[in-house]
Symmetry: D2
Amino acid sequence: MSKPRIAIVGCGYWGRNLIRNFAELRNVEVSVACDFNLNALAIVKRRYPAIELEPKFQGVLDDPSIDALVIATPVSTHFPFARRALVAGKHVLVEKPMATSSTEALELLELAERRGKILMVDHTFVYTGAVQYAKTLVESQQLGDLLYFDSVRLSLGFAQNETNVLWDLGAHDFSILSYLSDQDPVAVAATGVRHLGSVFENVAYVSAQFSSKLIAHFHLNWLSPVKVRRILIGGSKKMLSYDDMEISEKIKVYGNGLTSNLTPEGREQLLTGYQNGDMVAPRLHTEEALSRMATDFADALYGSSRPVCDAYAGYRVVRLLEAAQRSMMQGGGPVELPSLDHSPKASSFRPRQGGRSFLVRR
Amino acid sequence: MSKPRIAIVGCGYWGRNLIRNFAELRNVEVSVACDFNLNALAIVKRRYPAIELEPKFQGVLDDPSIDALVIATPVSTHFPFARRALVAGKHVLVEKPMATSSTEALELLELAERRGKILMVDHTFVYTGAVQYAKTLVESQQLGDLLYFDSVRLSLGFAQNETNVLWDLGAHDFSILSYLSDQDPVAVAATGVRHLGSVFENVAYVSAQFSSKLIAHFHLNWLSPVKVRRILIGGSKKMLSYDDMEISEKIKVYGNGLTSNLTPEGREQLLTGYQNGDMVAPRLHTEEALSRMATDFADALYGSSRPVCDAYAGYRVVRLLEAAQRSMMQGGGPVELPSLDHSPKASSFRPRQGGRSFLVRR
Amino acid sequence: MSKPRIAIVGCGYWGRNLIRNFAELRNVEVSVACDFNLNALAIVKRRYPAIELEPKFQGVLDDPSIDALVIATPVSTHFPFARRALVAGKHVLVEKPMATSSTEALELLELAERRGKILMVDHTFVYTGAVQYAKTLVESQQLGDLLYFDSVRLSLGFAQNETNVLWDLGAHDFSILSYLSDQDPVAVAATGVRHLGSVFENVAYVSAQFSSKLIAHFHLNWLSPVKVRRILIGGSKKMLSYDDMEISEKIKVYGNGLTSNLTPEGREQLLTGYQNGDMVAPRLHTEEALSRMATDFADALYGSSRPVCDAYAGYRVVRLLEAAQRSMMQGGGPVELPSLDHSPKASSFRPRQGGRSFLVRR
Amino acid sequence: MSKPRIAIVGCGYWGRNLIRNFAELRNVEVSVACDFNLNALAIVKRRYPAIELEPKFQGVLDDPSIDALVIATPVSTHFPFARRALVAGKHVLVEKPMATSSTEALELLELAERRGKILMVDHTFVYTGAVQYAKTLVESQQLGDLLYFDSVRLSLGFAQNETNVLWDLGAHDFSILSYLSDQDPVAVAATGVRHLGSVFENVAYVSAQFSSKLIAHFHLNWLSPVKVRRILIGGSKKMLSYDDMEISEKIKVYGNGLTSNLTPEGREQLLTGYQNGDMVAPRLHTEEALSRMATDFADALYGSSRPVCDAYAGYRVVRLLEAAQRSMMQGGGPVELPSLDHSPKASSFRPRQGGRSFLVRR
């Protein structure tokens, strides 16, 4: 197979990050940069003189030398652009969220299956050293049964003009939850508020219930002058804390005393102490997550593996976003979700057994 | 007036803390320690040989030399003990929560009013340097309009055998919210789970809506091997972060850029930066909160002031706990709360205008 | 043996802390509080009505019912008071530093030996959970050979009117170094400055050389509005960081990659990464250090053990302080110290082999 | 003037960082990459296809189209390469340290003066938002008189094979000290050790004395598995803490209580408290320091300004390194430094009065 040729569609801040990472890969070639904004293209040209510029999306679709599209355009265009690309016979990597409804997401998924094309979503956080490490802990049962998953994600996001905080920040957390737990909620409830005259919710609280005992909860907030990104995962054996705002020691794993038989003195000490059991902060791989994501897509183009964040992963996240959105619009009551396992389509698009092991490389 | 004589009822871990703090005050005398557990009394005797021991609650009630009772017994006894004490003509300081239902709380409040006795609740956190400082920021409008109040309170609490995490940890947060915002929610919704075979909820999420734009949210959790106590208060002008697990710099106040007219570059910088605007961590008074609480009660005994955490404050907190409990039992849907302002009793037990200013003493 | 009776001499801030801790012990009795300041005695009386008050030091010496003295008076009085107490046949616990010269310290040590009395110094930090844990790591060779010991201790200390920052803060660090390393420097060099018109040095840097490869260094500083207390201990296997200003996770133990055979990529990753190897923050015992120190003295009074911070430990610390002081006065050049092992007195006052194991109790 | 053409000499890890930053500038052109290592050149080519490759240093010197050289080669080559470049009529930006002796540094400085060429040193840290902010505080006298400058810089550095920890890490700290204080020490003393069989010192302590009351101190350490980069600057009015390992709030400015007239209670509170006075963590500019450094050099090429880190700045740093090295080799005694102000050359190469204001851009 000759080296796959890639077009980047959408050359804003994030699109340029994608170009930078794909340009570093040896097994693909970034051939075309596409954006209707000529200034954005000019910036690309300055850094990468060899990349062709293309102001029209159709131009990329019509170019038979292009094998794959990387779509980093506004959310509302993810579905139409990805669909047109698949129809045109291109492999697709699309930014999160994959689509704006589960119907759209399913349509893309099935289209990709029928055409035999790769469809992958850029859930970048899944590729961080922290989340990868957490995955190994969950899978090896070191946390025990999952009891709670609690995420707090705050930043300044008032300049958003197309979507609310749920679809923006929530997509990150839902993809992490989905990847780590490998469980799908049976119900989702969400409350949001629109502060400071915004037409979009800029603060939202979401909770998700599972058929297991797991409870998940999300605080999504665009009105914080300081960035907060903290996830706590409580298990029956250990608790994991993930603070993405730390330079090192992002992950801390705490032993707990939950199952001990305690003397009264031990009990009082546990209740008044600050830390129960040792804490371990593992060394994490520090490779840029976006680089690993790009590698995953490039490898998939060679057919050697199915990407971790495949279309099914994208669909699961959109499904949760949609349910949370509906709950928010209905006043916060829980919205039930049908089991994915009983879906006639589940078997076909489940990740292949024996697929590529995506272990932490130290 | 001669020096008021106080009896401490309940001499466990917290009761002994109360004895230590009241014993330091010059204007009251800790005369009697009461507990049916003779070991607890023996510990008190060793430290304070001058304090009389009394194994029976009735014995304290019958003692005409006792002016006031400090009740630090299990939650279920707060109401009956406080009621009997008020009926017996004693002033009362009772641990939080004041009672286990709003009906009980109201009955105590009205009883105290009728008998002309002080009834105060030990909402200790209200007396911390951090909360006192936050109060001055809110009152002086330095935060602007309150947009969100978000509290996360986790610790190990599995040894509780009488109540759930809501009534235990939530009482702290509700008292802080109530004190700082001086607003009462119009609806409360709560979800809780019982993990590890507990008969009481050990993880709960509570949200509260207000007639203003404020939204409040609480993560209460007994299953964390590491203590977390973080409150974020977002205002239209500034955001306050309160991390009680820091030795210093517990309070951080962040300027925000929410109202600025931004250039595109400024916007990108805000979105990608970690901190927008300066942060100030004020020096806080470090006097023990329990000591200030004890002082507030002692001063009230002299009639010179109404305590900050009076019966009305206790009632407001119990009302929220009750509503959250009902929501939790009903599956998480919002429980509406009638306006307190339309209550016929509100005027009489509202805090006196022009009452004692409880400013931060530096 | 009947319960030993103790007199506390010096009832200021620290003396009252000592009274509080000794009063909690079951196997000794705090009988007398001694201070020429009657206000200080009045404060003690209010808290501990059963303790007798004695305004004159001689009065305590003359009281045959007193078995032991706890001396918490100004530094310059440590030697004369301890000497008079030993001569009068009392056991002695004295605040750090034990004396103001090594000659004095040796005289006390030998006096105690001759009279068969306990002489102990309150090196409180040695009894913290953090230092105790570090000791177990050093003794079990988990850190490997000690390479560097670096301590930074800053706070506000401008109100001192009897001594400089070296004798005040340095005594803590020297006692920790001495206890943990069980090595004595062969040379000490120190530089100090007197800022803001002080007649005493308020900033000092001290380094100590050993016959092993260990190097120790101390930054002692009274001119910092924020408290800093950080010790780093680098070993050939692991590195330990001790930050006493953290509420939890005071001790962090880092694996290192120092001995690995590295590929060029591994080398670059080590050089650019933030953390190499996992980190472990052990749970520490949280018992108050002063309480454990008091227990050590009380146990020693029963003859059941030799105190960890015995007269010899006190002598070693004073010897280092004296050498550092001399270096500082001579302009910073190194001051050599004779080997303690060749001292004729070393064998007699070395800690007994097989002495009480002072292990971390969890 | 046509756009200056630049050659990057040395295309390792840091050289590639320089290429990336210079390639982003609009007013210069990165024309040539030079390295005898062809692999390094291949990596450059892949990222920047338009850059010419040149394996020989002489080739760059002989190319008349090249205006300026950026030298990022091993330390020992800084002097010969920079000298040959200046002789060949090129402007020069050289990595730190500028040379390996003050004689060499002076020779380069004078050569550049005579030839009328720019000679600048890459003291990257000087261009960080943190150091720039600190400079504004010092210059506006907000810290008051400087009392102490204390730097701690630890990381893993065992792979170094050409120099010791002093010349590697110390160059950073000396450049920061020199820039911020605008003072030159009168004496420097240093102690170093060689651990783990290294032929170069991997731990060093350096102190510097000034004719003012300032004392500076440096802990330089290559044997730490965790990166530490903390600078404390104590002034008579405020204290500044700079922790480069924080993502946000790198700079904290503490008010102090040093000059207050205190009551005894206030004094006790100061001594036992953790924080005295408010702390402010300013928002810092987050532009990459290396980008600002590159801009400074590019602007200088246009003659519009003298670079902040000019040859004189480079000379001052090398002079300190040299003195510290000498002290280390002599056993740690202080090495005196002649006053720069009496040097006949000082006036000519002092930074121009009224030079470019390098203020913090927010």
